[in-house]
Symmetry: D2
Subunit: 499 residues, 4 copies
Amino acid sequence: MTHDDILKAAGLTKDELSGGTLAVHSPIDGAEVARVHETDPADMPRVIAKAQEAFKAWRTVPAPRRGELVRLLGEELRAAKEELGAVVTLEAGKITSEGLGEVQEMIDICDFAVGLSRQIYGLTIASERPGHRMMETWHPLGPCAIITAFNFPVAVWCWNTALALVCGDPVIWKPSEKTPLTAIATMKIMDRALKRFGDAPEGLCQLVIGGPAIGEALVSSKDVPIVSATGSTRMGGIVGPKVSARWGRPILELGGNNAMIVAPSADLDMAVRAIVFSAVGTAGQRCTTLRRLIAHTSIKDDLVAKLTKAYASLPIGDPRKGTTLVGPLIDHASRDRMQAALEKAKSEGGTVHGGKVVAEGVPQGGAYVTPAIAEMPEQTDTVRTETFAPILYVMGYETLDEAIAIQNDVPQGLSSCIFTLNMREAEAFLSAAGSDCGIANVNIGPSGAEIGGAFGGEKETGGGRESGSDAWKGYMRRQTNTINYSAQLPLAQGVKFDF
Amino acid sequence: MTHDDILKAAGLTKDELSGGTLAVHSPIDGAEVARVHETDPADMPRVIAKAQEAFKAWRTVPAPRRGELVRLLGEELRAAKEELGAVVTLEAGKITSEGLGEVQEMIDICDFAVGLSRQIYGLTIASERPGHRMMETWHPLGPCAIITAFNFPVAVWCWNTALALVCGDPVIWKPSEKTPLTAIATMKIMDRALKRFGDAPEGLCQLVIGGPAIGEALVSSKDVPIVSATGSTRMGGIVGPKVSARWGRPILELGGNNAMIVAPSADLDMAVRAIVFSAVGTAGQRCTTLRRLIAHTSIKDDLVAKLTKAYASLPIGDPRKGTTLVGPLIDHASRDRMQAALEKAKSEGGTVHGGKVVAEGVPQGGAYVTPAIAEMPEQTDTVRTETFAPILYVMGYETLDEAIAIQNDVPQGLSSCIFTLNMREAEAFLSAAGSDCGIANVNIGPSGAEIGGAFGGEKETGGGRESGSDAWKGYMRRQTNTINYSAQLPLAQGVKFDF
Amino acid sequence: MTHDDILKAAGLTKDELSGGTLAVHSPIDGAEVARVHETDPADMPRVIAKAQEAFKAWRTVPAPRRGELVRLLGEELRAAKEELGAVVTLEAGKITSEGLGEVQEMIDICDFAVGLSRQIYGLTIASERPGHRMMETWHPLGPCAIITAFNFPVAVWCWNTALALVCGDPVIWKPSEKTPLTAIATMKIMDRALKRFGDAPEGLCQLVIGGPAIGEALVSSKDVPIVSATGSTRMGGIVGPKVSARWGRPILELGGNNAMIVAPSADLDMAVRAIVFSAVGTAGQRCTTLRRLIAHTSIKDDLVAKLTKAYASLPIGDPRKGTTLVGPLIDHASRDRMQAALEKAKSEGGTVHGGKVVAEGVPQGGAYVTPAIAEMPEQTDTVRTETFAPILYVMGYETLDEAIAIQNDVPQGLSSCIFTLNMREAEAFLSAAGSDCGIANVNIGPSGAEIGGAFGGEKETGGGRESGSDAWKGYMRRQTNTINYSAQLPLAQGVKFDF
Amino acid sequence: MTHDDILKAAGLTKDELSGGTLAVHSPIDGAEVARVHETDPADMPRVIAKAQEAFKAWRTVPAPRRGELVRLLGEELRAAKEELGAVVTLEAGKITSEGLGEVQEMIDICDFAVGLSRQIYGLTIASERPGHRMMETWHPLGPCAIITAFNFPVAVWCWNTALALVCGDPVIWKPSEKTPLTAIATMKIMDRALKRFGDAPEGLCQLVIGGPAIGEALVSSKDVPIVSATGSTRMGGIVGPKVSARWGRPILELGGNNAMIVAPSADLDMAVRAIVFSAVGTAGQRCTTLRRLIAHTSIKDDLVAKLTKAYASLPIGDPRKGTTLVGPLIDHASRDRMQAALEKAKSEGGTVHGGKVVAEGVPQGGAYVTPAIAEMPEQTDTVRTETFAPILYVMGYETLDEAIAIQNDVPQGLSSCIFTLNMREAEAFLSAAGSDCGIANVNIGPSGAEIGGAFGGEKETGGGRESGSDAWKGYMRRQTNTINYSAQLPLAQGVKFDF
């Protein structure tokens, strides 16, 4: 399908695609596919006020009813899966299967959130005082800003939105400037759900398009208590303290520098498959992309040989083709940063396989590369830095303790994994003295989390959690209640105060 | 008992009490009771390194064994309750019953934490992939700095320490410069527990004494992942963003501006008793002290009359005397701020009852006042500001919605309550559209939380939670694990990537 | 619609409706609407073996995938809501709105179960031994027999099925002999979901139709570990011990004798509306039907007067008509038992209002009655007995303690409620010394539970729990795991055993 | 110490030890050590009424205060550990370390229960109706009968009692007729705790001594809602249905037939140590004793050789001696049953090592045996039967599926384990298609559970759970509450009923 066909199928109108100030290019071929209208920063107070107004109404709508809106969203997403997935491919350059997978993730979280809407469990708690009752309840907190990155242009919005809506919070979405079309297409789906729902307050789900001024308005407003921001550590390092300083709550999903340890007992064939998907999938542009391979010296050479062979066989090119496994990088700047990183790695003693710019057999205008493997003599500064491209640094280790130390010795703390068939190694890796990441897997890559678990990482990854488990608590305020139904007034801790 | 007797009974040595640079005065009579040695800021890196070293060992000690240390601490606190309570009275000026109550709170949290040490429950979670297992585990996070305020000189340390120790984290305590003796006395008790325990790592529980430079060292060190700080909103507004900026985790317990709504159906006698304790207890220097009374106009005058009468009967004076209910303010500066606030309230149209400096019948040198009631025409700036002294601002209301709006219309969000016998009012107050505070009670005052619930507040109170419920999670890191024990490698969300 | 139209719309075929041995009559007019084929008791071993076979496969299907089947069931139920609701009306005599409400309840539990399918949370637990890990996981238990009663001919099946399927258990459904058509119609909907799902094992959801021999086969088979039985206390008193004796797990939902306490402060208009719905809805044939009214003497007469007036206005007749509020009893035997109970009540000193057989303005052949109010001098044997018909026994009380004692002084323990605006009374009713029922409400009737809570009751109600909260655990087995990944072998409790 | 010294040290008086009708023999030497007074069955109604009376008071005591009693019990147990452990050794024949370990287990559960006393968490739940609130609370259920067996004469009582007391339930203890002295000694410790506690209701903790008539009174009384019974499957098969039939709640901990699978990759030295402790500890008289060894054929012979060697080195004899590892069987009948089982095993083709009666070097009068290893050609009837003695049946396997099938193919379902270093095998064993037992371990024996997990088993083991996790729910009743604080009366599931 042509770009135009894809956008048309997703329901985008001429007016939405033209006449604006934000040029949108497809990474597939660098073509400008739209000029989108941006939100005027001066409008932001009005946007936020509308969200606050919606909040007043939405917070008292029973949660299971709020869940019904999310259920309808899930239905509409199921119906529009192909069309939306195609826009993801067009605008973010993801291969077709990954574009669809991203929509599936939206659907999954909707299902999860619907169930949650009849739970939102707080606690009843034993009180130490006769005739008293204690409980803990969770209440809506207020508008939630969702700042997303180009690499998951819709799933991250949906993770946040499905939970926020069920939790009683309106949302304001600021997508990446690189992927506004996916956002517009998603809002059309949301609007269909809202229409079927019937009586949701206006301003419940808003979209704002633009650059730093828009983001700044959300980050600095006291009326936006929650700011969920996905992106670079640099961005998060600014957003987090700013939101904290005005007593808001940041939910940060920032950079990862994800590693895999491959132990001597590992099923190497499985490891190879896992590595290739984790390191190369989404052209190395996932926050959970595998970037560091820590292989036992006894199998390292064999593993690298298998990998270089596998890498050589990967179909690179137009992500709209079903057979393609490696699509383009998001833009040429990204390609240049990758090349620079590889040069630096070499200067640090690294041996690089692949990592070449691809000019033939791919659409012209896109930034296509062969994924790179860089054998490193040690964990250098370059290895410690997240470069958002398909570079896999390989290092050796002798003891598991050493491997874990290498794994942990980076500023980021998102995802990690070990390949081993030895249960002692697997358990040690997951233990208190093991991986220091928010995600730690055994015999699967660091990438591709299920929505049932909490997603997020430690250290410079920002500490936020989204998706499953009790990540929903991040969207609510906790209230501790003590109810005295007696006619007495005993004090806690046996304090006496009689006058 | 004399000051010296009290300090001696608590085991403080001459060397600990003299020769230092930090002068400690008792608020009872202003007497200098010690000159305590301060920690050299240059030593802080060593202190922190010691905590990190202890962490390496402590995190792998099984949690129930860590709980054993906390159990022994509880035993030692039970044995030393009187002695430690007396130091609290001496140094913080709390009345005897409250001094003992504070130690009791330490004991309670120890009991709670011991039970917790066999739980620390994470989740096992259903995975969408065959031959896979998911779980979420909680691991120790690292050294925890505990910065405490003068008004709860020991309980807050123990809330944090009991949980942190069980969770596998060493602690570094920076007490208020006004209450180092209580801290030293507490460390002696902790040391006895450590000795009985046997093999805890050195540096597990450290005390640092001093001013801003000490605090700054803790706040800015990357090796102190958790900073639990109790104190003013001003302090928290600096600490929070600083800790966030270096990827640490702040747990903030800051100012409160706690209100009680008294409805027409309230049991007025109970309300009066609750108000007097909540507003006057600890001489109005609790973070949960009742500061605002929002009374229905139909009962407001009656209520104020009863209160002024009750206030007049309160024994003010030496807190060491068993009959005293109102002890001194922490210092003369505090008294002056109170006087200034009352003047400002008057200038805003308020009518003040009480609030006088007491010079007779009290120990000379202390800052004794009669607690104040200020009837206000509306919620003015002065009312919206937390003055750490026994001032109760009284306002009227007509409808419950109005009362809740007044209650919520302050920057702080710690504690709140309603007195009513009407279940609709009680429930509305606790609902999503009710109080916006972290604590909301019915028919008990805002003060005096049980340790079984999570303690803390919203907005400028800082958002932290300590003590019961799942507040322990604040001291740990969460890890989401997926374990593949099959020989297949399915991807989540049905993504295909076959090469 | 005629009976035939309704059955046709629900997809029942001629072959299903005729040629069998079980005559089905509509309570609307007593007409025989079908002769349904019964399951041969000799076939039961084969049925059970098929379920066991299905279990082997289904238990290893990932729970979220199992949830997908339940999600599809929910979709199909949404699509067939009207048609299935009409069969409920036809066969159970429920009014149209209640027929639809029952299908809605099926839909709700499907949504809930889908969310659950990504949870099924067990625990990870702190171990006392170094190098050890503990957890608790929940595994499928095996085939679940679901024995349902005529009054909720489909919702109860769905409560059990949605949870059982997600939990990994096949189901075998034995509906009431009075309502096989609703069951057949439901299975058609299930079959559509199964077909869309694709690869569910054969025998996952089976239907068996017939009498006691069929039930006995399920109750006594070791290969049916779970027997969920809804019906009379008499039935449950046989089933429970039998299932226990062969080490199975009974989930019993038996008789209720549900009461409402009306306090002096109650909103009487609300109380009247709640009472009428609770006592008269489903013609008094819900297990949660309000059967006992315990009214404060100060408002009792007023309340009875309002009720008798309201009762007089209730439209009685054909439940297919949208305006009808009281449909027929299930059969003439039921009507006779009602008459006998009223006679007995009179002989015990009761004054009866209503309770007459209705012959005019209603379809001939049905058992129509005016609902009855029986003012009783005390709680007699008749009051203590559940008569499955719209009889409301009214008694007076003076103190709340007395009212609670009356409420608790029956053998059943299902549902209960209080109407009061006094928070002390409301809380006392819900406290450890209050209602002894599994369900206790404030200001709503005992009937009409939401699916988010656990449903079931104490004492002769049988103790089972279904639907929300952690009722799903009843369908699974719990496994406690300790994993030693160290090379040491320490014993718990410090036991030494060195050889 | 002599028997008399031990009993005296534990505080037993002459009057308690003599003059009664129940002769108590020590298994050490068969000596009669006491003639204990039995409870008159005719007194049982009074005992039960007293418990019911205590319940009325105890249920309204705040749970943390109830926890204080358990905390004091823990303190007293710590103080009396040696003395009570010695009575366990004297009366049950356990070796010294195990006697002490049993008391430690009592202490551990007390610590756990104290923490629990500030939790007893129910849920607050999202309601589908505006102006409504849902929650689930847990209330005390009533007196709990605790029927214990000789092999854990005190720990099982304490598991039940610590939880029951915190949960608000009085307890009535019927110990084994073989171990009344341990029970009396324990009650003295409990009495000290009660005395320090101060105001517990009389009848909170009662002891009844005697035979079946006593047990029958507890099992059949409607006023004893909970019956926790530990013992044989035969006993449980009678108790369970009887309690169910009168609507009580049985908690059954019955027979086990616990297996270990030893995989080719197992650490054989660790396996040997685990096997010897699990199979021989407590002379094979634990419910979790290892009875079946399922060893891979590749290592089976080697393993048996190592085991027979290890068995040969075990010190058998007087359990009071610190060096003894194998004490006596409980009595001669037990020894005879062991001999009979070994004969039967031989007749089924088994080869038996050990299993001889020991006459020399052991106290005369006791039933001492060498523990037996029986290599079996297949899993015969004898293997499927639990013989309460140190017999270890050994079988071979080829594939893990086969091994799991053998493990599961017995009527009991208590404990199980696998020794393997292969993570796939370990996980498969713990999966839904793995062990069907309530306890499944990896690389530790089936015996020696920590109190933090729920303890109990499936199938003929009875299904009960005690100790950690949410086993406490077994001692309480669950109540689902919906509170309507609006002035509207919406019905669930959207049902309309307007008149």
